[in-house]
Chain length 137, copies 2
DNA sequence: AATAAAGCTCTAGTCATTAGAGCTTTAAGA
DNA sequence: TCTTAAAGCTCTAATGACTAGAGCTTTATT
């Protein structure tokens, strides 16, 4: 039995976000007290944790809605859940490799200054000169 | 000399997005033809490519504005440039390590299905079970 | 000269929140 | 019991980074 503030603390999801999820139909409308305040049960906490977890992993609300819907019809759902997870894994992998390339490029740029103090600033020149990393991303 | 459509094709940035970047001050206002159409030079193309790359890598508009300002204002000191470059390098490194953790977890989640078709879908169960990755995100 | 394609501005919509105004309910102390 | 303070409520509007559409003008081609 948690009020929204407690639920927020437990899950790390901010209060307006919880209400937004409710409006979006991601979480069930909770029971209200006589004074109209939301009152959550353990299941509400669990579902919100699930959503938080999936959001942290970068899944979209729609992805999550799919997963949530799927979890209520478990017999034909695993394949689809697998697809969603894999699709997202691919997305993350691409992102990582792109970031590695930028890291390399930024390192190159940042290190220039070690020798660059003799003449003009080479960092700026290098940032402006995009040819050096053409085609890499 | 490109019109906006050509620039869009060359860079992969959609036309309204180019105009949006202009409004945001990320790219310079280009010369207009007698008929008021935007006409870009090589430099315009290069800057937009740079922005596209940085966006693909997940840098925010504000991050990019800093880099762009840096690259187009040589009066700024080399020290400042060095600081900004390093700051972004740090930013990228953090981002990479965060994504690596997500990758690991998603792999764990996605691979579950290899054995999971026997019983209930373990992907959903795993996403719901936050204990398995507590503290990681 | 006519038509299609591409350009223009301006407004409004998207997603996933987040912030604020202005009110009510609840818990705790005097 | 009365009074605050904290926490709740609804509703509206803003954020960031686009994206789409209406309704018009310019340019290229036949």
């Amino acid at each position: 039995m948690y009020l929204i503030g407690e639920l927020s603390k437990q899950t790390g999801v901010k209060i307006p976000t919880i209400r937004y999820y409710e409006e979006m139909g991601l979480i069930e409308k909770p029971h209200r007290t006589s004074g109209n305040q939301r009152q959550y049960e353990k299941e509400g906490l669990e579902r919100l944790s699930f959503i938080k977890h999936a959001r942290d992993l970068g899944l979209s609300i729609e992805d999550i809605r799919e997963l949530v819907d799927l979890s209520s019809s478990p017999e034909k759902s695993c394949k689809q859940a697998h697809e969603i997870a894999h699709h997202h894994l691919q997305f993350i992998k691409t992102k990582i490799s792109k970031l590695r390339r930028l890291e390399k490029e930024l390192k190159r740029v940042a290190l220039l200054d070690d020798e660059g103090h003799v003449g003009k600033c080479k960092i700026i020149a290098s940032l402006a000169d995009h040819r050096l990393c053409k085609g890499e991303h």
